[in-house]
Amino acid sequence: MTDPTPPRRRAGRLVARALLIAGLLALADPAAVAHAAPRAVPGPSPTTPIDHFVFLMQENHTFDNYFGTRPGVDGIPAGTCMPVRRGQAEPCVRPFHLGELGSLDLDHSAEAFRVQYHDGRMDGFVEGVSTQGKNGKLAMAYYDDRDLPYYWNIADEYVLFDRFFSSANSGSIRNHMYRVTGSPGATGPAESIPPGGWGDIPTIFDRLEAAGISWKFYVENYDPTITYRSRTSEEDVDRGAQVIWVPLLAYARYVDDPRLFGKIVDLDQYYEDAAKGQLPAVSFIAPAGDSEHPPGSVRAGQTLVRTLLTQLMRSPNWNSSAFLWSYDDWGGWYDHVPPPQVDRYGYGFRVPALLVSPYARRGYVDSTTLDFTSALKFIEVNWRLKPLAERDGKASTFLDAFDFDRPPRPAVFLGTERKPAVVTRPDPVPVYASYAITGSLVVALVGVAARRRRQWT
């Protein structure tokens, strides 16, 4: 049997029915319809339960430098002894605990990488530092849970990546550019910010803006007067580093547009936003004095990370958030894993990276090969954005570090005690037994006294 109704009339009837149903619903619950009315154009909803992604970049350490002695990870191989001179097995320097010894700002330029990498032989770590006139042995120093108890506790509870590479085989400028653009920025032999800024290189924030997704760049001790136009080279190691660590400050369009410039804010704003549950979808954080950049204090850096996580964990946004932090380059320290060379600029050596989220797998070591553009990839996948460059387009991401099948974990503040004080509960049996025996004896004594009538004379 065929339907005699023409298709156009049938479609018209369907539309009419739909309108009728919508009208009835509106009559039944006008408030719901009012709520459903668009108030503002929302950004696309994320593809995962992560509504708030926070990415902090600390400074200058390798994976082996921080976690090389940690069991269960790809750490420092047994018997490691780094030649003082490349190609000569002896003399050599064994990895040692830095402890109370002071650290130095070891050379971490492209040339230092070349010497230390030594075409994949990985035997130039001491020489790469000593050729710069510094004590090359220091490159073989490491920290462990005595120095980094909080980070190690975090690794116990959340996710530690042991194949997370810095994106560039050179210093901070390229690595930070990879972090926000998926490309090195400085493409010539020199690694410097062009006098006119980064020009039209697209950033992840351009993508977010275009998609209507909220973002902010939080900067510790932020000084908005320091941009690529005002900084001087002498300031590279001081406050001028702000322009390197916040590449947006080297973009004319971000500096000159008050709306965009207003999204680069002091770190204090992060605490307020988190407390109110108003974190944007994507937050990038740049440190200042707490960056752990040698010879800075690693403990100060731990305190910064701990404070940021504390605020996130007590934020209403916690249940839909992920916090990733890593280190912008290797800082001259030893790491034993040869970095894959995917192109002319990288990868660089492995860097520590950890992920904290209510969905993060507990005590999980993720060995996926990742780099800073993996964070861009995560943002692009989560909010359905187009890749920025070839690197982030091809990058792996860290979705395996999450377990979205389980409900979000409640937050737990981790301490800086690596081995929390063990609560020893005394054996209760002697306590119960002794009081029970004594009580019984006294009751028996009174009972006997009450029953005996004979007077004492």
């Binding site: 737990v412 005394p426 306590v431 037994a433 006294a449």
Partner: protein, 551 residues
């Protein structure tokens, strides 16, 4: 002016003989005119006393459990309940409350089966309330043994409704159970004096040992026993038997150190004793005079004192015993630098007995009796009984009203240790448990609030006012030597201000607020009680404020 003879006068006491020769209470009552009543009346009386006792016990229980849960634990309650829970292995409390702290563990051991899981507070208080009712019954036994059933009943009624006893036995404190055992000790001593049985003498020592196992400060009651025996030479107490009684006391008390040693601890008690010996006074010398008589009931105290006067001709070893029992804690704790509202509670029972004795035996002026006497029954003693019953009722009512007010005062804004719960404390702790991540560390103004937060919030808490000097702090408390550094290092994530502690220490209150401001304190929760403003209008008064802090 003629007086009516009281039952006291009917008890013989020959002060001239070397040993006390007494008729048993039962036999003395047989000699009263009551014994000449008809069989029907005797039957009625046989049921009247138990019925009255049940009624008194029911009233006592009602006052002790009415709105028992209105306020959460105070600091001491939190500590004792926490110890009991830790002993029971309750995982919510073992990290925060060590099993052994300052006192012996008899009461905590009794409590612990109720604290095995979850958050328990009402059950602990019900246990104490039950022991409080048992004390009321023990007072009846004591009064009846000393002066007859009528005095026993009236004394039990007074204790049942006495605000002092009601308030303390609504809390998980050691003092309520301790007073039960102290009263039983007194009862054993009376039995010894009356019966001259060695076993009662030994039982007195053993029961005093149990009292000390509840709270070791009750050793001062041994001073009461000694004073009584010293003042009453006619009571025979050969040295060898006294040594036996003391040995029984020590043997019972040894349970505490022995159980502690067997369980693996030995130092806690010693440290606490050293601290108690050298700590600074916490109240003025007038503290007890200002608080305790009113809590016992001014009419009760007046009756007890008055009775000693108007029944002075009938003074016997009984009054010496009761006065010795009262004097021991009063003198000791008056001189002791550390004072606590509930410390004089052992005196409540003898005061009640003395007051009952006074009111049931008080002289009634002839003029009043004549007014009440029926014309056709000129020799009827009912008028005297009516006057005395009215006085007993007035005194009982004078106790009942403040007790009723006390148990209904859910928004109590005072903070006298031992006098009740802390408004908002439980709620603040529960808020922290529900709204802060596990592992949060809290800075409170003083250790009292820290205990409450740890009990209800399950969050490690430190009192700012706890001195780093070991001679100046309770050894059970952990000081925070440099709170500023802890805050700077994000080791502390919350600060709790409370009006009770702030009222006691303006210095530390100001210091806490300086730290709170310095570390970006943000109010995240406030607990209020009802108060009144200048116009008398009811307004919410903040009593506890929780701040979120960060470096």
């Amino acid at each position: 002016m003629s007086v009516t003879r009281s039952p006291v006068e009917e008890v013989e006491h020959d002060r001239r003989v070397a040993t006390v020769v007494l008729h048993a209470v039962g036999s003395s009552s047989e000699a009263t005119p009551d014994s000449r009543n008809t069989g029907r009346e005797r039957g009625w009386r046989r049921w009247a006393v138990p019925a009255a006792l049940v009624g008194i016990a029911a009233l006592a229980l009602f006052l002790r459990v009415w709105q028992l849960d209105a306020l959460g634990f105070n600091s001491d309650e939190a500590v004792y309940a926490g110890q009991a829970a830790s002993l029971a292995g309750n995982p919510n409390y073992t990290p925060f409350f060590p099993v052994f702290r300052a006192h012996p563990m008899l009461f905590q051991t009794l409590l612990s089966p109720f604290f095995r899981t979850g958050e328990v507070d009402v059950a602990g208080r019900v246990v104490v309330a039950t022991l409080g009712v048992a004390t009321v019954l023990a007072v009846h036994l004591l009064g009846a043994r000393l002066y007859g059933r009528r005095v026993g009943l009236v004394a039990a009624l007074f204790v049942a409704v006495m605000p002092y006893h009601v308030i303390v036995t609504r809390q998980v404190l050691l003092d309520g159970p301790m007073v039960l055992f102290a009263t039983l000790t007194l009862y054993c001593l009376v039995r010894f004096v009356q019966g001259q049985q060695v076993l009662w003498y030994v039982a007195t020592g053993a029961m005093l040992g149990v009292t000390m196992l509840t709270k070791e400060t009750s050793v001062v009651m041994a001073g009461g026993v000694y004073a009584f025996l010293a003042l009453t030479p006619m009571v025979r107490r050969p040295v060898r038997l006294s040594v036996l009684a003391v040995a029984a006391m020590l043997a019972v008390f040894l349970t505490h150190p022995v159980s502690q040693a067997l369980a693996g601890r030995s130092q806690t008690g010693k440290s606490y004793l050293v601290w108690q010996l050298f700590r600074r006074p916490n109240h003025s010398m007038g503290f007890y005079a200002e608080t305790v008589p009113a809590a016992m009931g001014l009419l009760v105290v007046a009756a007890a004192v008055g009775g000693l006067w108007w029944l002075r001709r009938h003074r016997s070893w009984r009054e010496t015993l009761l006065l010795s029992w009262i004097a021991a804690p009063v003198v000791f704790f008056q001189l002791w630098p550390v004072k606590g509202f509930q410390y004089l509670l052992p005196a409540a029972a003898p005061v009640a007995v003395l007051a009952a004795r006074a009111l049931t035996g008080m002289p009634v002026p002839e003029r009043i009796r004549r007014l009440l006497r029926r014309a056709d029954r000129p020799r009827d003693a009912g008028a005297t009984r009516a006057v005395r019953a009215a006085l007993v009722a007035v005194v009982a009512l004078s106790l009942l009203v403040p007790s009723w007010n006390a148990v209904n005062r859910a928004d109590n804004a005072t903070f006298l240790a031992g006098s009740g719960g802390v408004p908002g404390g439980r709620e603040a702790g529960r808020w922290l448990a529900a709204n802060t991540p596990k592992g949060s560390v809290v800075l409170t103004l003083g250790p009292s609030m820290a205990n409450i937060i740890q009990y209800y919030g399950h969050r490690r808490s430190y009192g700012l006012s706890v001195s780093p000097n070991p001679l100046r702090r309770n050894p059970a408390y952990e000081p925070l030597p440099n709170p500023d550094r802890w805050l700077r290092n994000n080791e502390l994530q919350y600060v709790v201000w409370d009006s009770f502690s702030a009222g006691r220490s303006a210095f530390f209150a100001e210091r806490l607020m300086v730290l709170t401001r310095r570390y970006h304190g943000r109010v995240v929760h406030t607990e209020y009680v009802d108060g009144t403003d200048r116009t008398g209008a009811r307004v919410p008064v903040p009593v506890i404020i929780i701040y979120e802090v960060r470096p």
